[in-house]
């Protein structure tokens, strides 16, 4: 029996205290016709040694960024994680605690969350942050719902075509049965044109949604887009890359009203897509419309400074169907990891991570675009990711480059038919010059066989 402490003697004593004779009788209030009369059809139990060996061996067959230099991005990045992040976040007092419902027993989690909220305001340049949402994609959808409530406009949401295609799909799914229409403005040239966006913004548009650096790595004209939104009384929602804050202007400083982000880059492993960290910050005046948990400062009965969950009337456990969202947890452990990461890096470290990533990405772009038949698809400023046009079939090229030992990038055809010959390449501070040169060589070598 895994993880059960009661001995057969205990069971006898306990059953007799309850007035029953067998464990089976514990379930006799369930009508017998629904009872399962056979064992579940799942494999028999494994002891710790067998589990560790078998499951360990099984996942060891995966070939991840630990085995091949990875140039994969698209919202999930192989940034360096300092040892202190793993070390501190694996303390049982953090990861085996739950939501801080009892503040007296949870000051550790609460203070860490209050610090997280502060760090996020520093990264985004906005006034307030919540305690986090599920991931960067659903955070966009939550921001859209929030904008509808704030503006009380239910006509339209304008979304830039350069926002991550999965994030756009989430917005579509979340809004499927609600009123607003979603208008997507294409990003020919890799960025959206503020004038083009402006044409789609109506008087009943609640928000413009952009991403910068966008899905293609390009930096949008955030300030100009903020102006477009505000001129029509709409909000500007910006999804950004938190690492980019080390080098680029913060979205809050460019006029964004709600800022969201995928926080995976901040000290969280890639883990095949999750769990991740949905970052959300907004202007002070919107805080009561913000979804998710929020921690606030107060004092205890002795006057001592402390922290509690606050503004809870926004939430589902009190407001039920009128809540700002149905969200009931935050990504506590991921937010903790992000905080430790930012505390360990400080402004200097974050600057280094950002600057190294952008320098190496530009070097990679130079090397790849120098291969005959290859060229950069877009020509705007970019941060750590770029789109390269190839003379072949990207899926085949990437498969061949994979055989030579590289995760070479992401083929864009599955989301963008017009970019069916293109690959999205991401470069973090972890990639070395040798690895970048090797990737360029690999592409050069396989191209004749993959066109």
């Amino acid at each position: 029996m895994a993880y059960i402490a009661n001995t057969p003697d205990d069971v006898r004593v306990m059953l007799s205290a309850i007035g029953l004779e067998s464990l089976e009788q514990l379930f006799d209030l369930i009508p017998p016709e629904y009872r399962l009369q056979r064992p579940l059809n799942i494999p028999p139990a494994l002891g710790e040694f067998e589990l560790t060996r078998r499951v360990g061996n099984l996942i060891a067959t995966n070939v991840g960024a630990d085995q091949r230099p990875s140039f994969l991005g698209g919202g999930c990045y192989d940034h360096f994680i300092p040892a202190v992040v793993d070390h501190l976040a694996s303390r049982g007092e953090f990861y085996t605690a739950y939501t801080p419902y009892q503040p007296e027993a949870s000051q550790g989690t609460l203070q860490a969350t209050f610090e997280y909220q502060t760090l996020i305001t520093q990264l985004t340049g906005l006034d307030v942050s919540n305690a986090s949402l599920y991931d960067g994609g659903s955070a966009v959808a939550e921001a859209v719902l929030m904008a509808l409530t704030i503006t009380r406009r239910f006509g339209r949401i304008v979304v830039a075509g350069s926002v991550h295609p999965e994030y756009r799909q989430i917005v579509d799914t979340y809004l499927a049965n609600l009123e607003p229409e979603i208008v997507t403005v294409p990003a020919a040239g890799g960025r959206v044109d503020p004038d083009e966006i402006s044409k789609s913004v109506t008087d009943d548009t609640a928000a413009i949604v952009i991403q910068s650096p966008n899905f293609f790595g390009q930096i949008e004209e955030v300030a100009a887009l903020a102006e477009v939104a505000h001129r029509k009384g709409a909000l500007l929602i910006v999804s950004f890359d938190p690492i980019s804050a080390g080098l680029l202007r913060r979205p809050g400083d460019c006029g964004a009203d709600i800022v969201v982000a995928e926080g995976q880059s901040l000290g969280n492993p890639m883990s095949f897509g999750g769990p991740y960290l949905g970052i959300m910050a907004c202007r002070e005046e919107y805080v009561r419309k913000m979804p998710g948990r929020i921690v606030g400062e107060t004092t205890d009965r002795h006057g001592k400074r402390c922290w509690v969950l606050t503004l809870q009337t926004r939430e589902q456990h009190i407001r039920r169907e009128k809540a700002t969202s149905n969200i009931c947890t935050n990504q506590g452990l991921l937010a903790l990891r992000a905080s430790i990461y930012l505390a360990a890096l400080g402004p200097t470290g974050l600057r280094q991570a950002a600057e190294l990533s952008t320098r190496k990405a530009h070097y990679a772009a130079e090397r790849l675009s120098a291969i005959p038949g290859y060229s950069l698809a877009f020509h705007g400023p970019y941060f750590k990711e770029f789109v390269i046009r190839t003379p072949g079939d990207p899926e085949r090229l990437l498969a061949e480059v994979g055989r030579l030992g590289y995760h070479g990038g992401i083929a864009l055809g599955r989301w963008f038919p017009e970019l069916a010959d293109c690959i999205l390449v991401a470069v973090t501070e972890k990639r070395t010059r040798d690895e970048i040169d090797g990737l360029a060589e690999a592409f050069r070598d396989v191209t004749p066989y993959s066109t």
Partner: protein
């Protein structure tokens, strides 16, 4: 305002009619029951109200209560002092603590509203 002239909804909102305009608030009893008020959401001027439907919400630390319109009509004024500082209600739920003024449909308050005597009796029962 003559407090004896107020008319009450069973959900503890009061209305006072003067020249086709109803002043609407919530009773001291309701304010005391809610305790520790944090904020209040009131409708914008121009909002159309239907008697018996919710027109706003008042929040304490861990509860939210809907406010139900005692009258039908259009909101013509909102008490900004209360909107900014809901704790005013604890000091004075009537003169300073009115919530909205409504241009009512028709000429009189709905007959279902309770007069002062009926309401005080109801309150006395609820307190037990």
């Amino acid at each position: 305002m003559d407090l004896k002239a107020l008319r009450y909804a069973p959900t503890h909102e009061w209305a006072y009619l003067e020249g086709g305009i109803a002043t609407v608030g919530i009773s001291k009893f309701a304010v005391d029951q809610l305790s520790d008020l944090i904020m209040i959401d009131l409708p914008a001027v121009g909002t159309k109200l239907t008697a018996g439907k919710d027109f706003g919400q008042v929040e304490s630390v861990k509860s939210v209560s809907d406010l139900y319109a005692p009258v039908s009509g259009e909101v013509v004024e909102v008490n900004q002092a209360v909107a900014q500082n809901v704790q005013l209600l604890s000091e004075d739920a009537y003169d300073k603590g009115w919530l909205i003024k409504v241009k009512i449909e028709g000429t009189s308050l709905p007959s279902e509203l309770m007069d002062d005597t009926a309401y005080q009796k109801k309150v006395a029962e609820e307190s037990h």
